[in-house]
């Protein structure tokens, strides 16, 4: 059991390699009223092609990771929600591009709640009938997203930027793809990705390592290490098209301008994330010349923001908001990026923006939930929760300028627009 402390926060966490194969992180906050646990697998919507131990490659329907998330809550003797109802824990789960997480918050009966979490995730139970029932519920979840312009504008953009990488497909899949899911396929995915060697548990709040390990020892079942290989169809460096348009029931057009970045390693490093966070803030943060200029020209409102998203095999920087003239807005953003590339970044501005990002990286430590989720993210990305903060603190102007020269390239950029129907 290792203890890793951060000197700025004067807080830290325990890291445990459990004999069953599971990596456990415990971040105590003894003054919390509540505790939070998140049990995650490195398995998300993009993992549609895989094989174990060098066997045959398998291709599964889109949306199956999310479907599996829904179904794991069920067991032969009732669902996990009704078990949690006995302990009072507030439980949920989510599936993203590259991970699936099961979580709960508890203010009492933590031990019992953790036992439920570890137990139900380790006990799959699906029948053709329960699979069918879920198709109705998830079908409505998919339809809810179809009407959500903020969601649509993002996936339409990813469809422009990626030829084959599965980030271009919605996390929940489509009505057609989920119709192909059956109990047997669910078991196959389960057996591959819910091996404890591919998973991690993070617990934060008013708990002790001894308390967590006692439950873990009792509940976790030995997992034989397996070798999981994932593959994606070949993704060209180029983009598919530079524009997408969709009409929806909105009043003000919505836009998302996005840049594809071809990062060669499996995951972005903390340094790469810090550089891009600072760079996007310099370009389009509220203190930037661009932001006030777009605002004054009537091209954006306060919904405007920039973001960087990266995971296995994809990395995208986005500028999004509402605009009466998305094309002109996009052009102004592109011009500003190119101007900055040509003229260089002002040293003073760099320092101020870096300070802001440093502050933001501290703010996350106020929330048990964010700490827990970040620990899991960091674990799957091969680093630690404190790395992002340290990477911001040590980031240099030269690093950011170098990044600007290699990223946010015009020819790897597309504009997605939602217009009023």
């Amino acid at each position: 059991m290792n203890y890793i402390e951060n000197s700025i926060l004067k807080e830290g966490y325990y890291e445990i390699n459990h004999p069953t194969g599971l990596k456990i992180y415990i971040y105590p906050k003894k003054d919390s009223n509540s505790s939070y646990a998140v049990f995650g697998t490195k398995y998300g919507s993009i993992d549609t092609q895989f094989r174990i131990d060098g066997e045959e490659w398998v291709r599964v329907p889109e949306g199956i990771a999310h479907f599996l998330e829904h179904k794991l809550f069920e067991s032969e003797d009732g669902d996990a929600f009704s078990r949690y109802a006995k302990t009072g824990a507030s439980a949920n789960a989510f599936t993203s591009f590259d991970r699936t997480c099961y979580l709960f918050s508890a203010a009492q009966n933590f031990d019992e709640s953790l036992e439920i979490l570890l137990d139900f995730v380790q006990h799959p139970y699906f029948t053709e009938q329960t699979v069918q029932k879920e198709q109705g519920i998830i079908g409505q979840e998919i339809k809810m997203y179809e009407d959500d312009p903020g969601w649509r504008v993002y996936f339409n953009l990813l469809g422009c930027l990626y030829h084959n990488h599965p980030v271009r497909i919605e996390i929940a899949g489509t009505i057609e793809s989920i119709a192909k899911i059956d109990a047997e396929l669910l078991y196959q995915c389960y057996k591959t990705f819910y091996n404890l060697n591919n998973m991690s548990l993070a617990v934060t709040g008013n708990i002790t390592p001894e308390q967590v390990l006692k439950i873990a020892d009792k509940t976790l079942k030995q997992s034989v290490p397996i070798q999981i290989e994932r593959r994606f169809d070949h993704e060209p460096d180029s983009i598919v098209r530079d524009r997408a348009e969709q009409k929806l029931a909105v009043a003000v057009p919505m836009f998302m301008l996005g840049y594809k970045e071809n990062i060669k390693q499996e995951f972005c490093s903390s340094e790469q994330k810090a550089e891009m966070a600072i760079l996007l803030e310099l370009i389009a943060g509220k203190s930037s010349a661009l932001y006030s200029s777009l605002l004054e020209q009537g091209l954006i409102n306060e919904s405007f923001s920039a973001d960087f998203d990266c995971g296995r095999g994809y990395a995208v920087s986005t500028f999004t908001g509402e605009s009466a003239d998305p094309d002109k807005t996009a052009q102004e953003i592109k011009n500003e990026i190119n101007r900055l590339r040509k003229n260089g970044i002002d040293k003073e501005r760099f320092e101020a923006v870096k300070r802001k990002i440093y502050g933001s990286s501290i703010k996350i430590f106020d929330s048990n939930e964010i700490i827990g989720n970040t620990i899991i993210d960091s674990h799957f990305a091969g680093n630690s929760i404190f790395d992002d903060m340290d990477a911001v603190a040590s980031c240099t102007l030269e690093q950011v300028e170098k990044r600007l020269n290699n990223a946010l390239i015009d020819k790897l950029c597309a504009l997605s627009v939602i217009l009023p129907a």
Binding site: N33, G88, Q140, E146, S287, S292, G298, G359
Partner: protein
């Protein structure tokens, strides 16, 4: 268990300062919350004023200068919210920032942030009894776009529309931001008058949460308001409580959407300060507030009709909303099932397990409030119209004592008033 220690200091007539000192956090927040009657003549004006105050002040007269200052303050964040509470409009302006112990140069982040918030509120960019007209035009456009964009969030939009249909003659039926037409007509002089009136006469509650110290800002505010000696604070209007109309109101709106949104509005005369509001809260949770509630278990899990079907209760107005996203063709079935589940509670057809589970879920929710500044802030702000503050611990005690009979009684107090459906176009 960490107990909330809340200190209330009166600054002057109508102005209070609340401190919730809590050293566990890495951030602090300071805010001013102003409550005004919600009125169709002034709603947009008030909303615009908050926007103007948020974006500049004498010291930092433009958006960029102000935001560069915030960057220097380690990404301090100015936030503003305009909401409804009862039949009133609530304007909220605040700043949140990381604790002084993270300062890289020993300067106090908190005192500078408090100073900045005070500048925004008390030294706005005013010349000749008028705000800047160019900035006002920009803010008007942004506010109008915000009102227009409400349609983008279909779930919220449907609840807002149901509220409108249900309460045509009550302030709570108005949009929290007013209307596009009103926003267009506001002048820079109007805003100046609104600002003067708020500082002079409105109910203002300042609140500090987190590890920062509040003595300096309390001193500052006492001096500031000492200059204003003739504060004339009007009593805020009491929320209008109505019984359900005899005929159920029904409204269907059509627009190009894939999924329909059903909202059912129920009325009761059980509103603050009724002794029954805790039972009503409890009943609403048991009905549709958790993943083990009757609506979740039946409308979603059993009938597989939707992804969400939930109930919420507004204790100021005595109103309960149930909402769900579904296929239009299933809306009748869902309506019947929702009413059937409510009837079950009315008839006492639920188990002791249902009661115990709901109680546990509510207690968990209340104990968790103290672990998040945002939750704590909302918790107290939502009580600003009440006679006294109840801490989450005190609220938990009240929940402990709710009985089966109380729940049945509460359920029998609610009556369906309005059914709203946002649906796709018929020819689609």
């Amino acid at each position: 268990m960490i107990m909330t220690k809340i200190d209330k200091v009166n600054i002057c007539k109508g102005v209070d300062f609340i401190t919730v000192k809590d050293n566990r956090f890495v951030t602090s927040s300071v805010s001013a919350t102003i409550i005004l009657p919600l009125d169709k003549e002034t709603a947009s004006q008030n909303a615009l004023l908050v926007q103007m105050l948020k974006h500049s002040c004498k010291e930092y007269p433009d958006f960029t200068a102000l935001n560069r200052r915030l960057d220097e303050l380690y990404g301090a964040n100015i936030n503003s919210v305009v909401t409804k509470i009862g039949d009133c409009q609530m304007l909220h302006l605040g700043i949140s920032f990381i604790d002084d112990r993270f300062s890289l140069d020993d300067s106090s982040i908190s005192s500078q942030c408090v100073k900045l918030l005070c500048s925004l509120l008390f030294q706005p960019d005013i010349n000749n009894n008028s705000f800047d007209t160019k900035t006002l035009e920009l803010e008007k456009r942004c506010l109008i776009e915000e009102i227009q964009s409400e349609i983008s969030e279909k779930r919220h939009y449907a609840i807002n529309r149901c509220t409108q249909v249900m309460m045509p003659d009550e302030p709570a039926g108005l949009n929290r931001l007013g209307t596009i037409e009103q926003a267009q007509n506001v002048t820079a002089q109007d805003l100046y008058k609104t600002w003067c009136n708020i500082i002079k006469n409105a109910n203002i509650t300042f609140m500090l949460l987190g590890p920062s110290d509040s003595s300096d800002i309390i001193e500052f505010l006492k001096n500031k308001f000492a200059d204003i000696n003739d504060r004339n604070v009007k009593q805020l209007p009491k929320a209008i409580i109505k019984e359900a109309s005899d005929r159920i109101r029904e409204q269907v709106d059509r627009m190009p959407v894939t999924q329909s949104k059903l909202v059912m509005g129920f009325r009761s005369t059980c509103a603050y300060p009724s002794k029954d509001i805790d039972a009503m809260k409890f009943m609403t949770m048991l009905f549709g507030g958790t993943p083990s509630s009757l609506l979740f278990k039946n409308v979603r899990e059993k009938l597989s009709l939707c992804y969400y079907c939930a109930a919420r209760y507004d204790r100021q107005k005595g109103i309960m909303f149930v909402d769900s996203g579904l296929e239009e063709k299933n809306s009748q079935l869902a309506k019947e099932e929702i009413l059937r589940q409510l009837d079950r509670i009315k008839n006492g057809d639920f188990t002791d397990d249902d009661i115990n589970e709901t109680r546990l879920a509510m207690l968990t929710g209340m104990k968790m409030i103290n672990d998040s500044q945002w939750s704590m802030q909302s918790w107290y702000i939502n009580q600003l119209l009440d006679n006294e503050f109840v801490s989450p611990e005190q609220a938990a005690e009240k929940i402990e004592s709710v009985t089966r009979e109380d729940i049945i009684k509460a359920a029998n107090m609610v009556k369906l008033d309005t059914i709203y459906l946002l649906a796709g176009q018929e020819d689609a």
